[in-house]
Structure formats: C-alpha cells, structure tokens
C-alpha cells in the first residue's frame, strides 16, 4: 500500500510538492519543529512534512487545514480552467493545439493539487482531538464550527492514504474524455 501511495504522490507531484511547501510554511508560523529532509521522500510521509505536534488547538487546526485549503483554492482554479474548455466547450486538439495543451496541463496541475488536500492521518486525528477535547478555547461554538471540517479531514486523510482520491479523479477524467 505504501508503494501505491508513493506512486500516487509522484504521479501528482506538483500538488504533493506544493502541499509540503504550505505545510512547512504553516509549521514555521505555528512554531512546530520539522524533522524531515526533503518533500518527496520514499516513505509513508511522502508529500508531507514530518513535523512536531503543534501546541494548542488553533495551531493544530491551522497546520492540518490551511495547507489543504491553499491547495484546494489553487487546485480548483487550475482544474476549472481545464475542465470548462475541455469538457464543456469540447475543445480538442484540432481546434487549437497550443490551447489544448495548456488546458490539459492546467487540468493535470489542478487535479494533482486536489489529490493532495488532506493531512496525514496523525495530523487529522490530533486536530480532531484538540478540537473536541475540553479545555481552554474549546467552546461549544468552535466545536460546532470545526466538527464537520475535522471529520471531513479524517475521512479525507484515509481516502488519500489509500490513494482513493487519486483513483477517483483519474477515473473521472478518463470517463469525461471518453464520454464527452
């Protein structure tokens, strides 16, 4: 499974690499120590930064969520700028070769980013624990507001761990190219 995970990360390397960048930035901001060298390592943390547990609830939420949000924003922009012309306007190679290639690259970069929006399971679970645990800053409102995002993150972390997101995206794009 790890091999498959690493392959999926390498296949979506633009998104995986950028996610590491956002993760490292967030760790620096939140004062988390970083252990790992390099972003695209051949282990279970490939595409992630091996970092210390953040201190405090807000930091745990930021480190777990913000890199994914950044990747999602950029990924959505790139993916949409590829999906709209390719699948809705039906632009093909014969219409404009250069533009077709640009749209394909944009689609690939966008999907690679969207395949790397969730944290590692450990980070997601830590975030859940911090959000749901009693203590300072764990008011009912923050629990309500962060319940769904935290739960989605845990589910997403498992989905990404088993490469399901990559498989879904790859299948969707292939189907769209065939059907449309």
């Amino acid at each position: 499974m790890t091999a498959l995970y690493i392959i999926s990360k390498y296949l979506t390397f633009p998104g995986a690499y950028l996610r590491c960048f956002w993760e490292q930035i967030m760790c620096r901001i939140c004062g988390c120590g970083i252990e790992s060298d390099g972003y695209m390592r051949f282990d279970e943390a490939c595409g992630h930064v091996d970092h210390d547990f953040p201190k405090g609830k807000a930091k745990a939420v930021c480190v777990a969520m913000i890199p994914g949000i950044m990747n999602f924003i950029f990924g959505a922009i790139f993916a949409l700028s590829g999906i709209l012309p390719l699948f809705i306007l039906g632009v093909d190679f014969s219409a404009s070769k250069v533009m077709f290639c640009i749209y394909c690259v944009s689609l690939y970069v966008g999907i690679s980013m969207l395949c790397n929006i969730f944290p590692l399971i450990d980070d997601a679970l830590l975030c859940w624990e911090r959000v749901m645990s009693p203590g300072k800053g764990s008011g009912i409102i923050s629990k309500i507001l962060l319940f769904i995002p935290s739960a989605v993150m845990i589910a997403g972390a498992y989905i990404e761990k088993y490469c399901i997101s990559f498989v879904i995206w790859a299948a969707a794009v292939a189907a769209a190219f065939v059907i449309l």
Binding site: I77, L89, I102
Partner: protein, 485 residues
C-alpha cells in the same frame, strides 16, 4: 530564576566545573576555557533532541537544533514552485474568466434541451460559438473555441428545429467526411441533406418553370409525378414539390394540401418535423380545430419554444370564447418564451378580444418602451381603432409601417407583414372616412392610400366590412380571433 541564569550563560562550561556526566559533555567542555561560573550539565538542561548541547533560551533544544528543527530552511525550489504556481494561477483565472461566457451559454443550452426548449437550446449553442469567434477576432488568436462537441449539439438542435436535412447541410460545412461517417447521427443528417439536394435538382426545372411562368403548372405537376417511380428514397420531397405546384400554381386548395400531407405522413411517419406544422395550418384553415390542437400539442411536446403552435391554440380558444383557457395558454407560452414579441402581442390581442381595451393599451405602452416592437405598435393602432381614436390609430400604424419599411430596405423582409399592410390600409381609410385627419397627417394618409391603390382586392373580409360600415372596429376586433387577419 535558575532558568534565566542558565539562559544568560554560554552553552558550555569549563571542564573543571562540570561533573563527569557523560562523554559527550566532556567533548564540548574541552573547547571552553573560562573562569566564569557555569551551571553544571544535567539531563534536565540538555537539549532534548540531540542531548549534546545545553538548552537554548526558553527552549527544550539547543541552538543548533533550534535552527535545524524549528527554523528549517524552505528549499529554494519550493519557493520557485510557489511563485510559478501563483503566476500561473493568474493566467488560469484569466482563461477561466474568458471561457465563462461561452460555457454559460452552453450550460443554458443543455438546460433548455432537457426542458424541450429547442429554440432556446439552438440560440444558446449558436451564441456560444459566436462569442468564441468574436473574442478570438478581437484578440487575433484562437484563445477560446467551441469544440466539435458544441458544434454537434448545435447541429442536433438544428435537426429538431428545422429538420434533419438542414442539420445535414450544417454538418457538411463543419465536419469532414471521416468525422461524419464515424458519427451515426451526423451521417443520417448528411444523408437527409443529400436526399433533399437530389430531389431539388430533379424538380428544379419544373418548379422554376412555374415560378418564371415558362411552364404550364399542370404539365409541371404531371412531370414531377412521373419522377415518383424509381425515386422512392426521394419521395418525401417529390410529394412536397407536387403539393407546392398544385396549391400555389394550380389553386388546388387546402383539402388537396391535406391529401398530400396525409400521404407524406403515411409514408414517413417519423417525419414529424416536416408534417406537424403543415397539419396545424391546414386543420386550422379547414376549421378542424380538434385535429389542429392535437398537432399543436405534438409540436409543443417536441419544442416548447414553438410559438406558432401556441398561437394557433390561443386563436382556437379565442374563437371558442374560452377566455381563461386562452389566458392560461398565453401565460404558458410566455413562460417558455418570455421575450418573444409575438407572445407579447398575443397577450394584447387576448385582452382586446375579451373587451379589456384600456388594459391592452396600457400593456402596449409598457411593452413598446422596452422592446420597440413593430408588432406591438400595430396592436396599439388596432386598440385605438377600437376606441374610435382614428388619428392616433393612423399615427401609430404609420409609425410602425415606416419602421418596418426601414427594416425592409435594410434586407429584413420579415418586418413587412401582411397584417401590418392590412392595418395601415384600414387605419388610413378609416381616418380619411371619419375625417379625423389633421393637416399633420393629411399628406401621410394621401401617400399611404396612393401606394395602397387597388389593395381592396386583396384585403380581408373583416377589413372590407369595417370600411363598408357593415361592422365596427369595436365589434370586429373584440370577437373571433381579435385581429383583422
């Protein structure tokens, strides 16, 4: 306090002042030589990460570990990647924005297609293609394009709206032979177009002969009938041309036209796109309203934007005096065709027909402000005629006529309708008859009546009855279909 003291001290202490805790600490001590008091190295004040150096200020780690662990440098490549991503995302947003206009039209087209609004679907796809061409022409580069997928949708909508032979003509201009051959629908459209072309070529000599007056229509009809044998695949069009010659040049009448249409419907039961509209007109003209409504419903089912079918249904409801049914039909038609001038005019006719003339005038004023439509102006002229305000009626009709004439001279022939001519003629005659004319209109009425000289021969019975005083405009326009034709 201990911690503060500890933090203000150098990392290592002289060997003499340090207990021999471990070999690692002794290595560091050797490098230092100072008489200042040094806190002894203990497990508590050593770096938790490397265990080699003493903890740094307010930290659990030494200075070296602080730097490598907490302030690990972000790779230059990552910064470059992030900057490139940010720049490319700007380009992506621009592309996204540029593509949004045609995409929006395509989505509207798909939605219209799902709701059987084939007219809207056709115009949406056509617009999407047009927007792309316009933008590319402006920037001088094929930045956005409607791909073959949209062209195919446009051709399918054309087939639904105007018939597969028209779609075949469009397909041949957009797709090459291989692409047409690969697509089942396209090849069937192209085949229909070829059939139409072959049939037209076969009968061209006879049809043109009748139109030019160089051939006897009966002889032409006989010759076309002979073509039926051996051209079974062209039969639809051959029968159509027979019907055209017979009805237009031989004055065969509506019954004969019905017989031709029946024959086509029997031979080609799937060609609803062809015979539905014909049946609607034929049955309406024959006064067989139930059958007319049946074909109206079938045509509306195929295309909700079919204003012609709705108009016939509303006219039948008005003829039968069913106000609420007619209003419901107008509302339904307006729902699917909100900006269609003919539908707006139908609403005005309906109001006038059931005696709400003032409401019709108010609606006309409101609609004319937003659309400036010639048909709305014509309806307003009829409203004034009903109110016996002949000067206003002529003024409005004459304005509509002038506008239509301008459109006509720019090549928009559809602007000059027989209904408009009839209305202008009626208003001019009535205005003169009732001596409601002022000096302002005198010359205009004179010029209209001069140009309409002999028009009474082709004027409708209703118009002639109003002019002759056998009925009033009030009576004639508030009964039947509520219009002069």
């Amino acid at each position: 306090m201990d911690n503060e003291l500890n933090n203000n001290l150098p990392e290592s202490a002289p060997e003499s002042e340090q207990p021999q805790e471990n070999a690692l600490s002794s290595k560091i001590v050797k490098k230092e030589d100072t008489a200042v008091y040094r806190e002894p190295k203990t497990a508590q004040n050593m770096c938790e990460r490397c265990g080699e150096h003493k903890k740094y200020k307010n930290s659990n780690y030494c200075k070296i570990c602080e730097r490598t662990y907490y302030k690990k440098k972000i790779p230059v490549l990552a910064w470059i990647a992030a900057v490139i991503t940010a720049l490319c995302s700007v380009v992506a947003v621009a592309l996204l924005f540029v593509n949004l206009a045609p995409v929006k039209r395509v989505i509207e087209g798909v939605q219209a297609e799902k709701e059987n609004r084939m007219g809207d679907a056709y115009y949406a796809y056509d617009d999407a293609v047009g927007v792309c061409k316009e933008l590319n022409a402006q920037i001088g580069y094929p930045l956005i394009s409607a791909g073959k997928n949209i062209q195919l949708k446009l051709i399918e909508a054309t087939a639904e709206l105007y018939g597969p032979y028209q779609a075949g003509g469009s397909a041949q201009s957009v797709f090459d032979e291989d692409e047409i051959a690969k697509n089942e629908k396209l090849s069937s459209y192209a085949n229909e177009y070829d059939i139409y072309k072959r049939a037209s070529e076969l009968v061209a000599e006879y049809v043109q002969g009748c139109e030019n007056g160089t051939m006897e229509p009966a002889k032409a009809l006989e010759e076309i009938k002979k073509l039926e044998a051996g051209n079974e695949d062209l039969l639809l069009w051959i029968i159509y041309f027979e019907s055209y010659i017979d009805v237009v040049f031989c004055d065969a009448g509506t019954e004969a036209q019905l017989a031709y249409t029946d024959r086509i419907a029997e031979l080609f039961p799937d060609a609803e796109w062809f015979f539905n509209a014909l049946y609607i007109d034929i049955y309406y003209n024959l006064g067989r309203y139930d059958e007319c409504e049946k074909y109206c419903d079938r045509d509306i089912e195929r295309n909700r934007n079919n204003v012609n079918a709705y108009t016939h249904k509303v006219k039948i409801a008005m003829l039968e005096g069913k106000k609420s049914e007619a209003q419901a039909l107008v509302d339904e038609c307006a729902k699917y065709n909100p900006e269609n001038e003919d539908v707006q005019a139908l609403d005005i006719v309906l109001k006038r027909r059931f005696g709400e003339v003032q409401a019709a005038i108010t609606l006309c004023d409101k609609l004319y402000e937003s659309s400036g439509s010639i048909e709305i102006m014509r309806q307003q002229a009829l409203n004034y005629l009903v109110q016996e305000d002949y000067a206003k009626a002529f003024d409005t009709a004459y304005n509509a006529y002038t506008n239509a004439y301008n459109y006509y001279s720019y090549g928009y022939a559809e602007a000059m309708t027989s209904e408009l001519l009839e209305t202008v003629y009626l208003c001019a005659v009535m205005c003169k008859q009732k001596e409601a004319t002022s000096a302002q209109f005198y010359s205009a009425i004179g010029s209209v009546l001069t140009s309409f000289e002999g028009y009474e021969k082709q004027a409708s019975e209703k118009t002639l009855a109003i002019i002759a005083g056998e009925t009033t405009a009030m009576k004639a326009l508030t009964e039947g279909t509520g219009d002069i034709l």
